[in-house]
């Protein structure tokens, strides 16, 4: 049996949803959710760019699913299913580890594998993995990145910077607790928080590239300025072990891969939002990113987070 046949058999064992048609058809067929909006996202990850050849393949699978579910979470959407695009470079062990990890991740989030494609890549090339996530939401309720209003408060759903420290641990730059490494390798999409915040969020996005840059993107997309109070950016107990001053907080706020949610909420909804998230700033007329802490205005670092391109 060829490598690709073995892989497809392993995927068939995961694709038990009737809409997947046992991966024996070229498509998935599912009833459209009645009177709902569809939320669609497609993210790719590339070996040597978004993950390292030495990363455990099961963790790469988790991350591929998690980053896509995080995009659904930021719209308050519930996942319906996913389609996966898998590039094979001829390492059966890696493939098996990846599929086992994807099985665990799909099971954890209760999301069915509906279909996709497997392709061969030239030997030696970096693996390219893609995933399309399909979700659903009440009509008209998926917050846009462009919807923040002057006076809106900026909230974040949880600690920032753990994944950045985890990356440094993974690289061997520092030593630190396993839970930080886990924050980097097995990020958690904030699906429940997204559903709770969506009804009151004027704008919402996940923190994939860094809190400051992702907050600025909401501001830019909404034609506003965003003001961040650095002292209020929540850090985990584990992260506080690496410092609690301006330098440590700036490092956290410019590190990526946390997958917390950022949202813009009207002052009237402050109490409702505070039950789920932490207030860290506000939007106002004007433009750009403005950061302060107890010592006054914070000069912006040259990099606000992971910049594409």
């Amino acid at each position: 049996m060829s490598e690709e046949s073995r892989l497809i058999d392993a995927l068939r064992a995961l694709a038990t949803h009737p809409g997947a048609r046992g991966l024996r058809d070229d498509v998935a067929v599912i009833p459209a959710p009645l009177g709902r909006d569809l939320v669609l996202t497609h993210d790719m990850i590339v070996e040597g760019v978004h993950f390292l050849p030495a990363d455990p393949p099961g963790d790469v699978a988790w991350k591929l699913l998690a980053v896509n579910l995080s995009d659904l979470a930021a719209k308050g959407a519930s996942p319906i299913g996913v389609l996966m695009g898998y590039g094979m470079t001829g390492q059966a062990d890696w493939d098996a580890g990846f599929i086992a990890g994807m099985a665990r991740a799909l099971d954890h989030f209760g999301v069915p594998l509906l279909g996709g494609d497997t392709v061969k890549q030239p030997a030696g090339d970096g693996r390219v993995l893609g995933l399309t996530a399909v979700g659903q939401v009440a009509p008209g309720t998926a917050p846009d990145r462009r919807g923040a209003c002057p006076g809106d408060l900026l909230f974040v759903t949880g600690p920032i910077g753990d994944a950045g420290l985890g990356l440094r641990i993974a690289r061997g730059d520092i030593e630190g607790p396993r839970r930080l490494l886990k924050a980097y390798r097995l990020p958690m999409p904030r699906l429940a928080e997204g559903r709770q915040l969506a009804p009151i969020a004027h704008a919402m996005a996940d923190v994939s590239d860094g809190l400051l840059i992702d907050a600025l993107r909401i501001a830019n997309a909404s034609g506003l300025a965003v003001h961040v109070d650095l002292d209020r950016v929540p850090l985990s107990e584990a992260a506080l072990g690496f410092g609690k001053g301006r330098t440590a907080r700036l490092a956290a706020a410019t590190a990526g891969d946390d997958y917390q949610l950022l949202c813009a909420v009207a002052p009237n909804d402050r109490l409702a939002a505070a039950a789920i998230a932490v207030e860290i700033g506000r939007f106002d007329s004007g433009s750009g990113l403005h950061v302060r802490d107890g010592d006054g205005q914070v000069p912006l670092p040259s990099s606000l987070g992971y910049e594409h391109g």
Copy 2:
């Protein structure tokens, strides 16, 4: 402006559908089609495997869209939109040619670009391109590959083998008319024919890997045997210029990339199907592929078409 920023700007000019949110959000949001089934497919193509570095980038874009729309066509589905995953390897000219070709292809088929992702690949790696197509169909009407019944007739929607000859022309193995090269580089998904056949098709699939292998896959998935009359397999005028005997017909029936549709239809629906497609065989109890022509049983070639893995 970085290469990726330029590329995303070019894609934004294509993503004019409101559901695409100007590609400024991480997702697309569209109303679920009321009371319809969703048909979802995701196909990838890889440089050096599915296309060649020297292929015109605009034609590669067309093919990426066409192969996915062909999967929708085989279910009688109408396209709603697509999400694209684009791997950049740092050649701005190639990217520009690809985006221009994708613009033409989307316009030709009237399909909106809803979203997707752009990623950097390591320099020198083969480009990996993925596309997710979302379509819709009346509930319960999308034919499966598994639904053929004993006694069903096998129909094909048009000439077979043009793309295979086009590939040989592209490789410089033979000379031939431009329309054969075009059949290979700019395949046409049979969306209209798919919609017409779906109501009477017990099973339907596109000819992507070769008529014989794709017919056998329908038979295997349905637990049946398929009998093909090689003399009835339609060849274009241009293809007949390369031969009309058993050898030429077998070459056509084992070449891929034609993207005609194969379907299984009850004898009662023969007249309706014959208005759209050509009868070339039948399904029966038993198993396997059986090919005949005017000279009797045809020994099967070692390769029935493009075999994955």
